[in-house]
């Protein structure tokens, strides 16, 4: 006969429940670092077999249910790869002409996402790759559709990523045309649906049409430039004529994504265009966002739009042209410099500046 509690609460039961409640509350209000340490200890010890088991299951599910999609993607990639040798050869020759270093190969760690039943699962993701696979803290986590988040905790075999759904998530972002620079964060709780982002810190005078893609700006040193974050879905709110906040429909949904890619440090500089989704995003110009270029449309500010072409050649002509450096480091931030200097040069223009993303990737 099974033992069923006949008395609803003995003194020992009450004390045990109070102790458990006290520990839970203490854990809840303890510094986050302590809680994460406890969690890392548990994941690395008693929960490690569980994580391995779930990883196997997730791999099994992925290999079965997504086989058709993977085959289609592989076919598309195979067609795209037919042009790769010619592009590589051209890229190598251009790099030699410009005296650029060879680009370091991509470092991407694939990982299964081990979803949990708790409702906060979309805020943090448990990934099946850890320190042993080369995952490091602050490594960006992406999916084929776009940005997911950043790695915050790394264990030996697993890691934890903070997704864009977390209240602490921030990423510098820019519209795909490079005009508007802002900060992306999880949507404020006031009536917004769960799976939504906000594009903040945009000046009131700027307007962004709906459907504009927003990508990571590459500022801050965490996320590489060019990772899709989402598309503009409308205006969320305006703050006293000073700031306008846009709603952003995310490109990747952390709550349902089956697997993710952790970008290693080697590829954090840029992401090849067309590496995400179906290549719907246009190539990103790699100019530094200037204050004058953040105006929404030339029609809105006709005087500024007219003035710019007149002043630029003058400014460029007044400036002496620096001697060409023998070896130019492969940094994307310096890409616009030669373009500006050559504006006043009457000689035939040199080859166009290197694109923001490495030209090894397929570009139209």
């Amino acid at each position: 006969m099974p033992r069923v509690a006949d008395r609803p609460g003995t003194r020992r039961d009450t004390w045990l429940a109070v102790a458990c409640l006290g520990c839970s509350v203490a854990l809840l209000f303890a510094p986050a670092r302590w809680g994460l340490t406890v969690a890392a200890l548990l994941r690395g010890s008693v929960l490690r077999p569980v994580a391995l088991l779930q990883e196997n299951a997730a791999q099994g599910r992925t290999s079965r249910s997504r086989l058709r999609a993977i085959v289609a993607e592989r076919d598309s990639a195979a067609i795209a790869a037919q042009f790769l040798p010619a592009l590589r050869d051209e890229n190598r020759r251009l790099r030699q002409l410009l005296a650029l270093r060879e680009r370091v190969g991509p470092g991407v760690v694939p990982a299964e996402v081990l979803h949990q039943p708790l409702p906060t699962d979309g805020r943090t993701l448990l990934l099946s790759a850890g320190r042993a696979a080369g995952v490091t803290p602050l490594a960006p986590v992406v999916s084929p559709d776009g940005l997911l988040g950043v790695v915050t905790e790394v264990d030996e075999a697993t890691s934890v990523a903070m997704t864009w759904g977390h209240p602490d998530f921030r990423a510098s972002a820019v519209t795909a045309d490079g005009r508007m620079l802002g900060v992306v964060a999880a949507a404020a709780s006031s009536g917004s649906p769960a799976a939504e982002l906000e594009f903040r810190a945009l000046s009131y005078r700027d307007t962004i049409p709906e459907g504009t893609p927003v990508i990571t700006a590459g500022l801050g040193g965490v996320y590489p430039r060019g990772v899709p974050i989402g598309v503009i879905a409308g205006i969320a709110r305006e703050q006293e004529g000073w700031e306008r906040v846009y709603r952003l429909r995310p490109a990747a949904l952390p709550g349902i994504v089956p697997h993710a890619l952790v970008l290693a440090a080697m590829v954090r500089d840029t992401v090849p265009a067309g590496a995400f989704g179906t290549g719907a995003l246009p190539p990103v110009p790699f100019a530094e966002p200037e204050p004058a270029r953040r105006i929404a449309s030339p029609a809105a500010r006709p005087d500024s739009a007219r003035r710019r072409p007149r002043t630029q050649p003058d400014t460029a002509a007044a400036r002496p042209r620096p001697p060409a450096a023998p070896a130019r480091p492969d940094t994307t931030r310096r890409a616009p410099a030669p373009a500006r200097d050559t504006a006043a040069d009457p000689a035939p223009p040199p080859p166009s500046p290197p694109p923001p993303t490495d030209s090894a990737g397929p570009r139209p």
Partner: protein, 165 residues
């Protein structure tokens, strides 16, 4: 004594099977946000079978494990499972009917209550809270209830829970 030991062994086997189902079968099912929570089924069986103190302690341990696997806010799941475990054992001793439907309803309510406590403890409010609590939690509660009742019907002798219907 031997029968009691055998029942405990059977219950341990069932719990192990449910744990395997949670971590190996559940990821293979559909969307993880609405897939049945086998861990909750095992936890409910344990809480309904034991004393309130045992239910609270088991809830604390299971919640701690859940927090470690989803560290959005450490301690939120531990608090939720502790409260549910204590209340489940207490309610069972006071007024629970031994009925399949009641057991299924308890599972659904437990999932929703856990989600509500976790969301509140982790600071989720507004639209995100409503969406998670009014859409995902009921769906997950429903699938968990169905799975729990099915498991209980198949293994009711091993669970050690008396059921009338």
């Amino acid at each position: 004594m031997i029968a009691q030991r055998a029942t405990r062994l059977q219950f341990a086997v069932v719990t192990l099977v449910l744990l395997l189902a949670h971590f190996y079968l559940r990821p293979r099912l559909w969307d993880s946000r609405v897939a049945p929570d086998f861990l909750m089924v095992a936890f409910a069986a344990l809480a309904l079978r034991g004393s309130p103190g045992l239910g609270a302690f088991a809830g604390f341990l299971i919640g701690l494990a859940s927090d470690a696997l989803t560290p959005a806010r450490m301690g939120a799941a531990a608090l939720a499972y502790t409260v549910i475990g204590y209340l489940a054992a207490w309610a069972r001793a006071v007024f629970f009917a031994d009925n399949l439907l009641v057991y299924g309803a308890f599972l659904a309510v437990a999932v929703i209550a856990r989600d509500a406590i976790v969301l509140l403890a982790s600071g989720t409010t507004g639209g995100a809270f409503a969406s998670a609590l009014l859409v995902q939690a009921p769906l997950q509660g429903l699938t968990t209830a169905v799975a729990g009742v099915a498991v209980l019907v198949m293994l009711r002798g091993w669970f050690g829970i008396r059921l009338d219907a």
